[in-house]
């Protein structure tokens, strides 16, 4: 029996990867949830907006690299993010002006707006594929590992190694910073409070003199910022491929609904719920039980609840269960 090794094993293969993947999902889920709460429709362009922002970040990264600018041990992409954000903001605002504002004025039903967002999804996807192509791209540079498995083993004398990639730490730190600023903004500032009021009760908010144009604009701003940051972090950690980003829309929606759609904090936690359950249910626990059980009880199967092929299916099944038993989400969002 060797509890320390068992814990390190779980940390290495479950906790650390799930934490970073969860943060990336959470950033996406927060803005989907915000758009649902304030603009009141399901924003199907979510995944592609993330790939749009990431694409421009990558283009700026390449530009900086060609100029010889770098951040040393940190990836150059961090320097490029602000520029990517600016272009994404311009894009979403233009999209709102050209497409969405018309339906908002007409007070179209949410379904109509969701359909329109499918139209913009097609367009955004086309733009990304035409500009940068559909291929897999890596744009990470700088120091890759903070802690290597071998170093950890030497340091502690354990059998199991612990690997921490620098992208994982960056993801976590950036998420903590961005999310704390966001929640401070939503809870403490006047604009943030007016946004929450608008989300709660539109008519009452309008009566009390809240400017709907400003609320809508700031929602789009936040969406663009979160999409670019979340997308870039995902791309740094794994790689950038437009199709994967489109597919990520699905767990993002799952996270937003599981957390209670329209409730940003729920969506934030929902991201982690989805990420952890995906990884927990598809991890093969054989080695873990070898460590914690006495030798006589050693398992012979892989002890895997589901094969890794069903990774995506896990999050959707959770969603179905939540929809069945608690349709307003675990952390209670809008009543539907």
């Amino acid at each position: 029996m060797d509890y320390v090794n068992a814990i390190v094993l779980l940390l290495n293969y479950i906790f650390v990867p799930a934490l970073s993947y969860g943060s990336q999902l959470a950033l996406g889920a927060i803005f989907v949830s915000l758009i649902y709460g304030i603009l009141r429709f399901a924003y199907f362009t979510a995944g592609d907006l993330m790939s749009f922002g990431t694409m421009f970040t990558i283009l700026f990264t390449w530009y900086f690299q060609s100029l010889g600018i770098s951040l040393g041990v940190l990836p150059t992409a961090l320097l490029a993010i602000p520029f990517g954000i600016i272009i994404t903001i311009l894009y979403v605002l233009a999209k709102d002006k050209l497409v969405f504002s018309y339906y908002r004025m007409k007070k179209s039903p949410p379904v109509m707006l969701a359909m329109v967002s499918i139209g913009t999804m097609f367009v955004t996807q086309a733009i990304v594929r035409i500009v940068i192509g559909p291929f897999d791209r890596r744009f990470f540079d700088g120091e890759k590992f903070i802690l290597k498995a071998n170093e950890f083993k030497e340091m502690t004398g354990l059998n199991e190694g612990l690997t921490i990639k620098s992208t994982q730490v960056i993801t976590l730190l950036v998420t903590i910073i961005v999310v704390s600023i966001l929640f401070w903004f939503l809870n403490k500032t006047k604009t943030g409070k007016s946004m929450r009021a608008y989300s709660d009760n539109e008519d009452l908010a309008l009566l009390s003199g809240i400017d709907p144009k400003k609320v809508v604009m700031i929602t789009w701003l936040i969406a663009a910022v979160l999409a670019t940051i979340g997308g870039t972090l995902y791309g740094l950690d794994k790689s950038f491929k437009p199709f994967t980003y489109f597919n990520n829309m699905l767990p993002i929606f799952a996270a937003a609904i599981v957390g209670g759609i329209g409730n940003p904090f729920g969506a934030f936690l929902g991201g982690y719920v989805i990420a952890f359950s995906e990884i927990l249910l598809t991890y093969a626990y054989r080695k873990f039980f070898i460590y914690i059980l006495p030798e006589s009880l050693e398992p012979d199967g892989l002890l895997q609840l589901l094969s890794t092929d069903y990774k995506f299916a896990v999050s959707f099944s959770i969603l179905v269960v939540v929809l069945l038993f608690r349709p307003s989400g675990i952390f209670k969002g809008k009543i539907i």
Binding site: V111, M115, F122, V123, Q125, F253, D309, F316, P327
Partner: protein, 456 residues
């Protein structure tokens, strides 16, 4: 006649465009566009039944299409005897366990009051069932997949003519829709959209990774056709005579017998592909016409009026004593079954089943673009949408190439920008689809052929 003026006009334009492709590109291309247009039309009719008649959003079209395709494999592939011997009994036993689980859950739901204990009981039944399933199925699956994995490695089908699968596909899709409808139909519209989208992804994941069922991503190829094969046609006398008669004039111009024979052979090879596609187009047209007659009758029947009433005002319909929940479930099942037919038709046409090719962009969102552009609530409109959008989807690439060449004619052929644009031609179709959808939704929100309601 007057009320159908728009319909006739739109359909003639559409047919004219396809014939134009026949003259400008080739008849083979034109006919395969026509076949896929017909398949798309069946899909849009299915989606239209749900969205246009009842206002239900179903973003799970991909899942039903794939199930229809699976039906085609299970019906027409020859059975793999060895696989049945090594693992068939266990798989049947697993099916029985699943049935037992379903019945015991239903029994618990009926027999006991709503309580925590009931939930625990259901959870217990499901977990125990899953453990048994896992224990019994995993050795069986392993041995089934080990039976000559390069060619079979699955249980195979029933070896029946593939046309039967069109009906079986409808039943498969309908059964899935029944389960999904039971779970998700109570949800608000956009929730339903997301839930169905995600459930269809689960369906695809299962089909992709359960190799014993239909070989998963290893694909099933060489499914039997309902129409003759080109190779057989080329050696059939009546077909050669037919081609010769069609091309009498040009054949008579050639005097040399050897040259004449060569030319005839060339014509027969070309003619055979066109003939096969014509056969498919004929079969598909029959399906579309039958469905169109049924759906038109349904739309203007008392039942159709009730569906419209439910769509336009659920509460009022409910107050009039109509069972909204039951009707929603019914129409969800019917629409999905139609989509299932289309899925089976598509696999029949391709002759192969490739689970990896089922992607939401192509099989869910594109179909929705067709429904919206064509005109929801109008069967003629949705068929037209299927035709027009599929035509645009295929012909977008040549059109984009033409436009790019036109606008960059000032640039040299080696210009990096021009090369980049020409390389990304396949993605212009996404752009065109998106813009077409946005324009139609803005300026003609009811579609090209809007819904017409006869007032009595």
């Amino acid at each position: 006649m007057r009320e159908y003026r728009d319909v006739i006009l739109a359909y003639s334009i559409m047919l004219g465009l396809i014939i134009l492709v026949g003259f400008l590109q080739s008849w083979s291309i034109a006919l395969s566009i026509l076949c896929f247009c017909l398949i798309s039309a069946v899909m849009t009719m299915g989606a239209n039944i749900q969205w246009g008649y009842a206002g239900l959003i179903n973003f799970g079209i991909m899942g039903y299409t794939a199930l229809g395709g699976l039906a085609a494999v299970l019906v027409s592939a020859p059975p793999v005897k060895e696989a049945w011997q090594v693992g068939g009994m266990q798989m049947i036993f697993c099916a029985l366990i699943i049935a037992a689980m379903v019945f015991s859950v239903r029994f618990i739901l009926k027999k006991f009051q709503k309580s925590n204990n009931r939930n625990y009981g259901i959870a217990f039944v499901i977990i125990v069932g899953l453990i048994f399933l896992r224990l019994i199925s995993s050795p069986a699956i392993e041995s089934i997949e080990a039976v000559s994995p390069a060619t079979t490695g699955f249980l195979g089908g029933m070896g029946l003519p593939i046309v039967f699968s069109w009906i079986v596909g409808a039943f498969f899709a309908g059964a899935l829709a029944y389960v999904i409808g039971k779970i998700a139909l109570g949800l608000r519209a956009d929730y339903l959209a997301i839930a169905t989208l995600l459930i269809s992804e689960i369906v695809i994941a299962v089909i992709k990774h359960e190799d014993w069922l239909a070989r998963g991503v290893k694909n099933v190829i060489g499914l039997k056709r309902p129409v003759p094969y080109e190779i057989d046609l080329q050696s059939t006398q009546w077909f050669i005579d037919l081609v010769a008669r069609f091309n009498q004039k040009s054949l008579n111009l050639i005097t040399d017998t050897l040259e004449k024979e060569q030319f005839l052979k060339q014509l027969v090879i070309e003619g055979s592909t066109v003939f096969v596609k014509l056969c498919y187009a004929g079969l598909f047209t029959i399906v579309v016409i039958i469905l169109l007659i049924i759906t038109q009758k349904a739309l203007y029947s008392p039942w159709g009026r009730m569906m419209r009433a439910i769509r336009d005002n659920e509460e009022a319909a409910n107050a009039m004593g109509k069972n909204v929940v039951k009707q929603h479930l019914l129409i969800f099942v019917l629409g999905s079954a139609v989509v299932g037919i289309a899925g089976a038709m598509m696999v029949t046409y391709d002759g192969l089943f490739t689970p990896g090719s089922y992607r939401p962009m192509r099989y869910t969102f594109l179909i929705w673009v067709m429904v919206i552009i064509g005109g929801s609530g109008n069967n003629f409109g949705s068929i037209l949408g299927g035709f027009a959008v599929w035509f645009l989807w295929i012909e977008a690439a040549p059109a984009a190439l033409f436009l790019i060449n036109f606008f960059t004619s000032g640039l040299a052929d080696t210009n990096a920008f021009k090369i980049h644009l020409i390389n990304s031609i396949p993605y212009f179709r996404l752009l065109m689809m998106g813009i077409a959808l946005l324009l139609v939704m803005r300026y003609r929100p009811k579609g090209i052929l809007p819904e017409k309601i006869k007032h009595v």
